[in-house]
Amino acid sequence: MFFKRNLGAKIALLPMIIISLTVFVGCIIYSFVYSLTNSKLIPVFNYVGFDQYERLFKTRKWDVAVENIFIYGIVFTIGCLVIGFLLAVLIDQKIRAESLFRTIFLYPYAMSFVVTGLVWKWVLNPTFGIEHSMHLWGFTWFELDWLVNRDLAIYAVCIAAIWQGAGFVMVLMLAGLRGIDEDIWKSLSIEGIPKWKSYIFVILPMIRPMVITSLVLIAAGVVKVYDLILALTSGGPGYSTTTPAMYVMENFFSRANLGQAFAASIIMFVSVVCILAPWAYYEFYFRNREAKV
C-alpha cells in the first residue's frame, strides 16, 4: 500500500532524487576517490593516499590561490554587505526617483561575469583607462595601475566583483527593511530617536536573519569565482590573482594533472561546507527552538 500512495509524486521526483544522488553526492565521492590517485591525463585508480594533498599544500601557486580567496572573500563579502546595506537604507528614505536609483544599482547583477571582467579590465587599463583620464585632467600623481601590480591586482578584482554584487545585497536588505512594521517607525519618531541610531539599535537587529542569509549566500559564492578573474586578469599578472577554482580548471584541462585537480576541488568543497554547516545548524536548531516558544 505504501508504494501505491503518492506514486505520481514519487515518479515525478525521481529525476531530482537521481540527480541529487548521482551528481551532487556521486561526483563528490568520485572526486574524492580519484584525489587519492596520481592520475595525470585520464582517471586511473593508482592509490597514493593523501599524496596529492601534500603536494597541493606545498605548491606555491596554491598558496597564492588560497591567500587570494581569503582576501577576495573578506573584502568582497564585507564590501557587498556594507555598500548593499547603505544603498538599501538610502533608498528606504523615501527619496525621489527611487525606481531609477534601484535600477541603476542592480543592473550590473544582470550582466555576465565575463562582461564585468572585460569592462573593468578596460576601465582599469593603465594606459587608456581611468589613470590616463586623470593624467589628462592634470592629476599626474594619480595611480590606478593595480592590474599590473602583483600585490594589488586582487583588489581590482574585488572592486569589479563588488560593483556587480552590491545590488544583489541591496535588494535583499531592502526587502528586509520594507518588512519592518510602520508602527515601529512611528514609535521611534515619538520617542525622538535620531534616524541613524534607529537603524543601528533597532532596525538592524530586526533584520538580522536577512543579513545572515545575505552573508551566507555571498560567502558561499566566493569560492566559485572563476569567470570574472579569467576575463579581468587571466589569473595574472603571472599567477598573482589565481584562485582555487582556476587552479582546479588548469589542472583538469591544460596541465593534465587530474589527481591534483581532484584534490584541490575537494578542498574547495570542504571549505564551502565549513561555511554552510554552522549556518544550517543555526537555522534548523534555532528555528525549532523559536517555534516552540
Binding site: N6, G8, A9, A12, L13, P15, M16, S20, V23, F24, V25, G26, C27, I28, Y30, S31, P43, L87, L90, I91, I95, F101, R102, I104, F105, L106, Y107, A110, M111, S112, F113, V114, V115, L118, V119, W122, V123, F128, S133, W137, G167, F168, V171, L172, M210, T213, A220, V223, K224, D227, L230, A231, A245, F252, A261, A264, S265, F269, V272, L276
Partner: protein, 296 residues
Amino acid sequence: MISNTIEARGPRPKHLSIGRIGMYCFIVMCALFFLMPLYVMLVTSFKDMDEIRSGNLLYIPKSLSFYAWPKAWGEACTGFVCEGLKPGLVNSLKITIPSVIVSVSLGAINGYALAFWRFKGAYFFFGLCLFGAFIPYQVMVYPLLKIESAIGIYSSLPGIILVHTIFGMPILTLIFRNFYASLPIDLFKAARIDGGNFLKIFFYVIIPMSTPITIVAVILQVTGIWNDFLLGLIFAGRDNQPMTVQLNNIVQVDYGVAEYNVDMAATILTSMIPLAVYFVSGRWFVRGIAAGAIKG
C-alpha cells in the same frame, strides 16, 4: 521660539537639511560609480582607435564611428574563425531556450510534488538537492564530463542543456515549492475530492495559477544561463559555444593590434539580452532574487 507663539499653523516649513543634501550627494555619486562602466562601454564602442589612443576614456566621442559594431557582429576573430559574435548569438539562443524550458518545467513539477504530496524521505532528498546548489561547479565538472561521455552527449547541445538543468534544479525547485506552499491548500484538497490525480491536478489546477512564479523562474534562468561561461565552455561543444565564450575569445585573443572599440561593442552586444530582460521585467527580477533568498 517661533513655534511657541500662536503664529504656527498649517504644514511645517520645509527646509532641506544638511543631512538630506548630503544623502542625495552620496547616492548620486554611487549612481555615477555604478553607471560609469556602462557609459564607458558605450562611449568607447563609438570611437575610432586614434581617438581611443589619444583621448580620454570618459569623454564622449568627438565623431561617432560605427566601425566597431559591424566588425564585432560579423568579422571579429574568435580563435581561428573570424565571424564575429553572430554565431555566438545563435548558439546562446540554442542553448538558453531549451534549457530554460526544461529546467523550469522540472523545477515546477518538483516544487508541486514537494509542496502537496508528502512522503517519507521526500524532504531528505530535497535537502540534498538544496545542498547541491552550494557545491562549487569545479568539484562536479570532471565526473559530469565522464558521465556525459559515457552516455554520448558530452560536448553537444543536449549535453549543455542537461548540465544547465542539473544546476538550475535546486533553486528552481525551492522557489516553486515555496510558492506552491503559499497557495491555499483547500484548493488542492477540493481538486482531489473532485477526483483529480497527480498529473491532472498539476495541469488543470496548479499550472494556471503558476504565472507569477513562472515569470520569476524564467527570468532567473534566462539571465543565469545566458550569462554562463564555464559550463558552456566545457559542455557545449566547439560548434555551440555561447556568446560569452566568443566574447572572451574576441577580447583576449588578439592577433596584432587590440581593437578596444570592437571589444566594447562586443561586450554590449553580449549583454543586450540579459539587460533587456532586466529592464523590461524590473519588479519581477527583484522578486526573483528575493524569492530564492527568503527560504520558507
